[in-house]
Symmetry: C2
Subunit: 313 residues, 2 copies
């Protein structure tokens, strides 16, 4: 069944209006964080489900066997080492160098990573969290070099996905699989636990082709510093660190960012955004046209058939 | 006795030639790290002395009473709040704003911080570490804002102080007194333990007025990334964090740096460089003229009379 030709089941009423010309506004979340009731057959423990609902993220260690991790790390290295002449346009390089920084549409460029995305340990968990079948809204492999890794300022992914991609509701979850060890010192993912419960409708209208600059340093669609201070003061701050193979699931509206990294230790991760098939994109809510397909899948919406068992070559 | 009129006791032979036009070179340290033998009357424990000698730094907690800390924090706030019209030239503001970022020659602008510098808990420890009377080569109060605190790349202070200020030998120690809580997440001082034992003679000649750009982002006088990687791999990496009042002593040649800080938590510290009076500056070893006096004291070299007892208003 090609459900991408169906009409979206969510209507196009804007539940989260944002990008006001002159004011920031806080709106209460109108959607669940954890969409399922926990049950015995769930792919995460009851305690994990409770923590995800409360904090808006969940860090899971020891999810993969050593040979699965070796395969992922080796596959990531192979993708980065692709001959520059043969690289598809989804391979983005560092400014002024031939070094690959990001591979977008990762699942289309690598059977190993497509298999990883479909694994019950990723897509299976996403289905449970969202209580629906899921597809990939975005996928990418990130290489952050040591010494000059740059920071990412605080933001909610959903704010952009709603404003610029047209995702109607908060029914998506990101999964980041760490392919390097990540300590508290080499720029780990920072999160504000509980921030997913309020939507910060941001100030500032969306410029045309905003993604061309926002991927480098986001300026539109970010909360005011005072708002982030208030959230951090009230809710605290946490870092998602762990050894290679750690998986971080985080709700689409959880405020997050990361510091730069002057340590010699690079960071690399495979990143998948799972969206509920019920929540597929409509017209952007606050942008003239949708972002390109490599950032925001709207043409190849295929529900994932989850796969159990070890990931092998 | 005004010893600043004496001839420097160290001759002007260059023990650490650096800023080669075309190569980086590693030279073994020719000076002790810990200049004293530990004894019962020493101001630090035997274990602390051993760790300082081995690692090139020492973190000390709980050195000050609550009312001493309150006084320092309040004094720092008062300096920052000085009317812009009345601020001396040593008060440096953020680009594009009136917010004070650094107060140089801190000891000359604040009796409280002059008293702090002279305290046996700072100058007394410095005298012991360097086995000599000491004076202030540099002092400053740093305010690093939350959200946009910038990183400082890896460097040895001594490399600059030798090349650009003319300090002959490795006989100086910095003391940083934290005036805010510093966690592993808001950009603490990162150090490579043991790196003080080798001098990295850097590649690249010194441009005129190098300090005008090097204070923003140092480009000359920094080790190559491969060298830092090797040091970090062989020796490890540590972060000096702790609550307000924590004191970090670090040898002039210990490699250090810090990540940027996107967290809402600002960082502030009072920073003092104690130099042995035997080690006072001669002509710069690798620059056309010395840096200005607010960065590099060469005109007011007054040995400190250390003071015991509580710091009060």
């Amino acid at each position: 069944m090609n459900i991408s030709t169906h009409m979206p089941p969510y209507d196009t009423v804007d539940a989260y209006p944002t990008r006001h010309p002159d004011k920031e506004q806080i709106i209460e979340r109108a959607d669940p964080v954890l969409w399922s009731e926990w049950h015995e057959g769930a792919p995460i423990s009851r305690d994990e489900a409770t923590r995800y609902a409360k904090n808006g993220y969940l860090v899971r260690h020891d999810m993969f066997a050593d040979d699965e991790l070796d395969l992922m790390v080796e596959t990531a290295r192979g993708l980065r080492d692709t001959d520059p002449a043969e690289r598809p346009a989804d391979f983005v390089t560092e400014p002024g160098s031939d070094d690959v920084r990001t591979v977008f549409r990762l699942d289309e460029h690598s059977p190993v990573f497509a298999r990883l995305a479909a694994d019950t340990r990723l897509a299976g968990v996403a289905e449970f969290l969202l209580n629906d079948r899921v597809y990939l809204h975005q996928s990418r492999l990130n290489y952050k070099p040591g010494f000059k890794g740059k920071e990412f300022y605080w933001h909610s992914d959903f704010e952009t996905w709603h404003a610029e991609d047209g995702l109607p509701r908060m029914r998506s979850v990101s999964a980041s699989v760490l392919l390097t060890d990540n300590s508290r010192l080499n720029g780990p993912l920072l999160l504000i636990p509980g921030s997913q419960n309020e939507f910060i409708a941001c100030k500032g209208e969306t410029p045309d082709n905003n993604h061309e600059s926002s991927l480098k340093a986001q300026e539109v669609g970010v909360p005011q510093p005072e708002t982030i201070s208030k959230f951090a003061r009230d809710l605290g701050l946490d870092a998602a660190s762990g050894p290679t193979g750690t998986v971080v699931f985080f709700d689409c509206n959880t405020l997050h960012g990361s510091n730069g990294n002057i340590t010699p230790d690079p960071r690399s991760n495979a990143f998948f955004v799972f969206n509920s098939i019920t929540n597929r994109p409509v017209s952007p809510f606050a942008a003239a046209k949708p972002r390109p397909a490599w950032l925001s899948n709207r043409d190849r919406i295929m529900p994932i058939d989850t796969i159990d068992g070890p990931i092998t070559r």
